[in-house]
Amino acid sequence: MANVPADLRYTKDHEWAKPEDKRYRVGITAFAQEQLGDVVFVELPKVGAKVTAKLSFGVVESVKAVSDLFAPLSGEIVEVNAALPNEPQVVNQDPYGKGWMIVIAPSKPDEWNALLSAAQYEQFLSEGH
């Protein structure tokens, strides 16, 4: 079974969000990186860019495919993982840690409640998504 930390929330597009003092750190799940295979490039917006929940905020490229990254919450990007351009493989190695992608200052904090809990995400995965 895929690694699904209990303290995070999830999208059906396989991103995770972690609350950190009114901000949210965002990455892709262990399941997502496993499906993608070797990540070779991550394209992220700049600090200050606005993102909208459920819309694309960037792209992750693996050797075999390109996939959009979808924002779990709307808001402004206040931090971007500067290590990823040179070390994209950390997304595979540590998707919930060093492989994080952006930090969002939310404009609609209520959107958090619409995200899947760990149990709901595990259920979603078990349905074969």
Binding site: G37, D38, V40, F41, E43, V59, E61, V63, K64, V66, P85, P88
Partner: protein, 366 residues
């Protein structure tokens, strides 16, 4: 799609080895086991086994076999000695390509041709329509094929073969048995490494694979999926039918003029190809290196000064070159090494440069 996917004799072995299986040309094939980059590196440093049993094989024999092949292909089959292999092309009358293939001379008037898996039905219809005067037999469904590729491939195959595999020259073959399985041992491959392709009876292929895996423990063998097969061949700039060559591309623009031998006499497509030669190809297949790690994929536009001048046919991150690389057709004046171009990736022009190919040095044993 309702047609059930076909499976090779090694399907169970792949699943047992933890492969991720995908659809490829109507077949259910392993795309990766441990991961594409890891498998790619294993082939460059040790040895990998590829199941390519899905590829097609036809035998053609009789007094008219040579003439039929001379008509159907661009290369000069008469130059082949018994025991020799030749890379070649089936052209259409208009100069585009039905497929690329290898020709094996089994005897004076008996040959085997190996074709791409996704083209078997099309090729079979083509050769039996246009290759009259010879007896054709489609042996695809009874022929398994395992590629053994990498610097340790010779040690592995030589240790299991009852013929001297080390003595087989590049693009030559011998018939013998490997691990007790009747095999055509061919010193060919699609990775740029030394290696062999082993043709075996369908029923013996699983035993051959198991023996190679077992004996290969000493030389760090690993099964390799289609994902790494693609990154390996792309680093060598080997064309992939359906990506880099197809019905709309002619051999000269694809850089395959070296397998077109007009002096051999008439063949299908010769006038069209010779017209392109006289006029000069309007576009050429080139190698591109991206300035960053973004991946240029099949179909992405190639730009020069904002103007579309061609398109990407294959692209990947090259695990050995550690850069994003691609093949693309561009207008001939822009094909020179060092030309700076852009690839449009998700609406953005990303810089790239025309580079010499292969992207990674070939280590085939010549």
């Amino acid at each position: 799609m309702n047609t059930p996917l076909k499976r090779t004799p090694l399907y169970a072995a792949h699943v047992k080895a933890g492969a991720r299986m995908v659809e490829f040309g109507g077949w259910e094939m392993p795309v990766q086991y441990s991961g594409i980059i890891d498998e790619h590196r294993r082939v460059r440093s040790a040895v990998g086994l590829f199941d390519v049993s899905h590829m097609g094989e036809f035998e053609v024999e009789g007094p008219g076999a040579l003439a039929a092949l001379q008509t159907l292909t661009t290369n000069d089959v008469s130059a082949l000695e018994i025991g020799q292999v030749q890379y070649s092309l089936f052209p259409y009358p208009e100069g585009g390509l039905v497929d690329d293939l290898t020709v094996y001379r089994l005897a004076a008037d008996r040959f085997m041709v190996t074709v791409n898996a996704s083209n078997i039905d099309k090729d079979w219809a083509w050769v039996t329509t246009h290759g009259a005067g010879a007896r054709w037999r489609n042996i695809s469904a009874e022929t398994g094929l395992i590629a053994v590729q990498g610097p340790r491939a010779e040690d592995l195959v030589a240790g299991l073969a009852d013929v001297d595999a080390r003595a087989i020259g590049y693009y030559r073959f011998a018939r013998g048995s490997v691990a007790g399985v009747a095999t055509t041992i061919s010193r060919t491959g699609y990775t740029g490494e030394d290696g062999f392709e082993l043709y075996a009876p369908w029923a013996g292929t699983e035993r051959l694979w198991a023996a190679l895996m077992e004996a290969g423990r000493k030389v760090d063998v690993a099964p390799i999926g289609l994902g790494a097969r693609d990154t390996l061949r792309l680093e060598m700039r080997y064309a992939l039918y359906g990506n880099d060559i197809d019905q709309t591309t002619n051999p000269l623009e694809a850089g395959l003029g070296w397998v077109v031998k007009p002096a051999k006499g008439d063949f299908i497509g010769k006038p069209a190809i010779e017209r392109v030669r006289a006029e000069g190809p309007k576009r050429r297949l080139i190698g591109l290196e991206m300035a960053d790690r973004s991946v240029a994929r099949h179909g992405y536009p190639v730009l020069s000064g904002g103007r579309r001048v061609g398109g990407v046919t294959s692209g990947t991150f090259g695990p050995s070159v550690e850069k994003s690389i691609a093949m693309a057709y561009v207008e001939t004046p822009l094909a020179a090494i060092g030309t700076v171009l852009d690839v449009e990736i998700r609406g953005q022009a990303r810089p790239a440069r025309v580079v010499k190919t292969p992207f990674h040095p070939s280590r085939v044993k010549k």
